[in-house]
């Protein structure tokens, strides 16, 4: 007989699958529920002892700073143990025309005074060829010079210029595991799930382990990666492929040593358009991580490997890239019955805007904060979770596609990308509106925790040469404020350039001396 309650309290959370998604979710939930955990609320993570996670070095979003700080993680330790470096956004090279000097930044700082005045129409009315980014934020200039976003005297997690991290994914998951189990009271069960026991209502009641015994729980979080063992395989939730919008389906990945230990570490992700996709290039303290994300319909593996090696240059000698096929898309439902998927079990998109860990954080936070008190209200919570999460995946796909639709590159991959039939309707409409009105706060960006805010759309649009037809008369009322903000931006850029250290120098200092908590 089933012993499962269908109306009782939700007290025991079981996460299946380790890796970054599993441990980050465990940490976020456990940190949020430290109080209840003193009186019987439990977080258990079941992880197969043999499984190897796909460890590709990751770019992250500034949200990770808040997430880790709330978990009680020391930022100094993150730098020391996960080979972290600073990431101040991304530079998209050769995406528009393909020329060698073609490129723009998507920085992490919003334009100056973003919540007071929209600088985009004011930039549009200016003559000259100063880039949108440089006109509204100092961050592009900081990246150009390889400067860090803070100093050794800036407290942990605080920024002078907004930042996220690049980090060694293979080290990040064990780092989180140690913190979760030693500091946050997460139970770690190292065992293989052999079968799933279901309750009469379809809920997951327990997981039978190959090594013996059963793990029961009230809510199960599926962090089993592409396999989606619980939500996909067991509960039969389908996968919505987005290959018709985003064509890339394969990555070739390689680790590139520095020429000397003192080589500059770029403080941003360098994303360079190639003939049938794009390469990422991120700098860790001891090596660069470079990968070519491409569409296998448009280029063969050998040809792609040649292109990747050409991009890397002489340092590529003797390196053998690792091939990772992937399928872009997401689950038709993320939370069904008492099972919710996070990470690649929920879906995967090409890492063009480093959205993978960001989505894990957002989902974990939503689960932690909306944690259903009992099984009765779970349907309401899960319906809301599904709505919000579907919205987020849709908007990320729109935003990734935006990078492709404005290109003037001649290769077939890029021409195919501009085919209107491949552009989601919502993005198509926005592009129409943006012909006459620059994106800003009220556009479509009214959701709390919008994954990519209007500022991000501005940086990509105007970085790629998009022109909004503005009426200068519309600018009259806000012009004094806009001029003031642009002037402040120029002054701030000068101040920061003088005050900030080289990215590598600060990373080294953090390893040597650490950052202060205040």
């Amino acid at each position: 007989m089933q012993t499962l309650n269908t109306s009782g309290p939700v007290r025991n959370i079981v996460i299946v699958g380790g890796g970054i998604a599993g441990w980050l979710t465990a940490g976020v939930i456990a940190a949020r529920h430290q109080g209840p955990m003193k009186s019987g609320f439990t977080v258990t993570l079941v992880e197969a002892p043999e499984i190897k996670n796909i460890d590709v070095d990751e770019g992250t979003w500034p949200t990770l700073r808040t997430t880790l700080e709330k978990m009680g993680v020391s930022e100094t330790e993150l730098f020391r143990r996960c080979d972290a470096t600073f990431r101040q956004g991304a530079r998209f090279a050769r995406w528009t025309t393909g020329a060698l000097d073609d490129g723009y930044y998507h920085p992490l700082m919003p334009p100056q005074g973003f919540h007071q005045v929209n600088l985009a129409p004011h930039w549009l009315e200016q003559p000259g060829n100063r880039s949108f980014c440089d006109s509204v934020t100092p961050q592009g200039a900081l990246c150009d010079q390889g400067l860090a976003p803070k100093t050794v005297a800036t407290p942990e997690y605080q920024a002078v210029a907004n930042y996220a991290y690049h980090l060694d994914a293979g080290k990040f998951a064990p780092f989180l595991q140690k913190h979760c189990t030693e500091r946050l009271g997460v139970r770690h069960v190292s065992a293989d799930v052999q079968s799933v026991r279901r309750a009469a209502n379809g809920d997951i009641a327990g997981l039978a382990l190959k090594q013996g015994g059963e793990v029961t729980g009230d809510l199960f979080v599926d962090c089993t990666g592409f396999a989606a063992l619980l939500l996909g395989k067991e509960l039969g939730v389908g996968f919505r492929d987005c290959g018709d919008v985003l064509f890339c389906d394969t990555a070739l990945v390689v680790q590139v040593p520095y020429e000397t230990p003192d080589d500059a570490i770029a403080s941003h992700t360098i994303s360079t358009a190639q003939s049938a996709g794009w390469t990422w290039d991120i700098g860790l303290p001891t090596r660069r991580s470079v990968g070519y994300v491409y569409s296998s319909r448009h280029i063969g593996e050998d040809q792609a490997a040649d292109e990747l090696m050409r991009y890397i240059g002489p340092q590529a000698k003797g390196l053998a890239p690792r091939k990772i096929p992937f399928r872009g898309g997401y689950r038709e439902t993320f939370w069904k019955n008492n099972c919710v998927a996070v990470g690649q079990a929920a879906g995967f998109l090409e890492p063009l805007e480093s959205s993978a860990i960001l989505l894990v954080e957002l989902s974990a936070k939503l689960i932690a904060e909306q944690m259903p008190a009992n099984r009765e209200v779970m349907e309401i919570v899960s319906a809301r979770f599904n709505e919000v999460t579907h919205y987020r995946w849709g908007r990320i796909i729109d935003f990734l596609k935006l990078h492709y639709v404005l290109t003037r590159r001649p290769e077939k991959f890029w021409r195919d990308n501009t085919d209107p039939a491949t552009v989601p309707g919502r993005l198509k409409n926005l592009l129409q509106i943006w012909k006459y009105q620059a994106p800003w706060l009220l556009d479509e960006f009214n959701r709390l925790e919008e994954v990519f805010p209007a500022a991000s759309y501005q940086y990509v649009l105007y970085g790629m040469g998009f022109r909004t037809q503005i009426d200068p008369c519309d600018n009259d009322a806000s012009r004094p404020l806009a001029v003031q903000h642009m002037r402040e931006n120029a002054a701030m850029a000068g101040r920061l350039r003088a005050a900030l250290p080289r990215n590598r120098d600060l990373v080294r200092k953090i390893q040597d001396y650490g950052l202060q908590p205040i």
């Binding site: 005297a153 800036t154 001396y513 950052l515 908590p517 205040i518």
Partner: protein, 226 residues
């Protein structure tokens, strides 16, 4: 520039040191590191605060001697008031158990106090050796004091905004003091421990020294009015 070498009675037999407090001789410093053992002397004149080492980010205790960079508003009094040991030591450093000297320091030259007399340390140098005997362990104890306060979250940033009669304003950044709210909520065991280690007294002295900030601002005001 600095040129620090070990002190040698043969090589440096004829060197002389000018010990007078003077801006030209290296005393033009706005913030000088101090040791807990000096607090009782310092509090009579200076605000005692925490700041961060620009090179390492590490917290240390220091006194404010001025408002603007490179400004020491106490130089007119010269020798009549207590000078922090770190200024008194002038061009000398310790290197392990030995004394070292910065030959490029403006105090080093051909006039002033002799360092050696007939190959033996002069009374002046003996004074410096005595000073280091005091300063070195004192700085180590101070580091433990700072680290302990930091661990107990007893340090907090302090915003100092000053307005002067000439209409100018200063916003001082990067300074920290004792977090009095947290101090009041210290657990009983900690209170006893901190009392026995002398930390309670040191913290109260730092809090009392905040009253020297307006006094320092008045010195600055007088200077600006001249």
């Amino acid at each position: 520039m600095t040129n620090i070498v070990l002190l040698d009675s043969k090589i440096h037999a004829d060197l002389k040191i000018q010990a007078t407090p003077s801006a030209k001789l290296g005393d033009a410093q706005r913030f000088v590191p101090v040791a807990v053992g000096e607090f009782a002397h310092l509090v009579a004149y200076y605000p005692i605060l925490f700041s961060k080492d620009a090179e390492t980010g590490a917290f240390y205790c220091g006194v404010m001697l001025g408002i603007d960079e490179g400004e020491n508003l106490f130089l007119p009094e010269g020798r009549d008031i207590y000078r922090p040991l770190n200024l008194q030591r002038g061009p000398f450093f310790t290197a392990g158990g030995n004394i070292a000297i910065d030959l490029d320091h403006p105090r080093v030259g051909t006039s002033g106090h002799s360092i050696f007399e007939a190959g033996e340390p002069s009374p002046y140098l003996n004074g410096i050796i005595g000073l280091f005997r005091e300063l070195k362990p004192a700085l180590e104890q101070t580091k433990i004091f700072v680290d302990t306060l930091l661990d107990s979250k007893l340090i907090e940033p302090i915003d100092i905004s000053l307005s002067f009669d000439d209409g100018s304003r200063r916003q001082l950044e990067g300074l920290y003091t004792v977090n009095q709210d947290r101090m009041k909520n210290l657990a009983d065991g900690k209170v006893v421990e901190f009392f026995q280690r002398g930390y309670l007294q040191a913290m109260y002295t730092m809090i009392a020294s905040l009253k020297q900030i307006p006094a320092l601002a008045m010195r600055k005001n007088a200077l600006l009015a001249r």
